[in-house]
């Protein structure tokens, strides 16, 4: 059964979507490729796609991410060219997570241990707030 995957590059990665597309064009694999602003969409048989994923990941192991997609590339039910423009419904999730990718890439690339995380500031306890109000008003 054919599967479709997004290949998404971290904004800090040196690999461009066009590099990935060219790599696939030059490969032996029989897959459909569509280049987008954030990466590429690839479609093909599952075992072919899995082999291709390994090769693409090797370009930048910490900076290239993969995501499953339900619809094939250019599907008129999702393609914005056929729907009158606007972002594809699933794009907002990718856009939100893409902002986090540089941090995740750096974390994957770093081999060191995890340093201690400072505790986040907690909101003022209601009891303490009541005490402050009483002190100020009395």
């Amino acid at each position: 059964m054919p599967v479709t995957k997004y290949v998404i590059t971290s904004p800090e990665s040196n690999v461009l979507p066009s590099d990935i597309a060219m790599k696939i064009y030059g490969s032996k694999y029989d897959v459909t490729v569509k280049e987008t602003c954030f990466g590429v969409v690839i479609n093909g048989e599952e075992d072919v796609i899995n082999a291709l994923i390994k090769e693409i990941r090797a370009l930048d192991p910490a900076g290239i991410f993969f995501k499953d997609r339900g619809f094939p590339p250019g599907d008129p039910r999702r393609c914005r060219g056929r729907r009158g423009g606007g972002a594809r419904p699933g794009f907002y999730m990718i856009e939100s997570e893409s902002k986090m990718l540089p941090m995740i890439s750096r974390a994957l690339a770093s081999e060191g241990g995890v340093s201690e995380i400072p505790e986040k500031k907690k909101p003022l306890a209601i009891k303490r707030l009541e005490e402050i109000i009483k002190e100020d008003l009395s």
């Binding site: 339900g70 699933g90 907002y92 999730m93 986090m100 941090m103 995740i104 995890v114």
Partner: protein, 145 residues
Amino acid sequence: MAKVIVYPPTSMILSDLVDRMGHKALVVPEAVRKLVTANEIDSPPLNVTPEEPKKGLRYAAVDVPSGVRGRMSLIGPIIEEAEAAIIVEDPGWLTGCAGCSRTNELVRLLIRTKGIPVLDLSYPTNDPEARAFVQKIKTFLEALK
């Protein structure tokens, strides 16, 4: 190789990290693919038929909105298949099939009551948190082998 359900069920970061560590990430797009690429499209364009909310009755009562039951017809079977789970609480932005708060509550409840190993996390906001985030997922997934 364990089957790991991720929440949000459309998360790129979580599904990629699970696949990277040699496990199978269970995600909604796979369920969507089965519907939209089926040879017989009974209800174009998305092939969501009245049967879908009926399948959702297994997870939610009949008086629950059909949107919840329709979503559960996709996510419910994934939860049944799962052997472990990674849950990121309160991502702050959920859209599309992950954009229904009542469905999300039900999904989290079903995952927790299933009795499978669950890793609870929150999305990182800085580099030390990102390192801890990746490390926790790595440790959790290594323990599943």
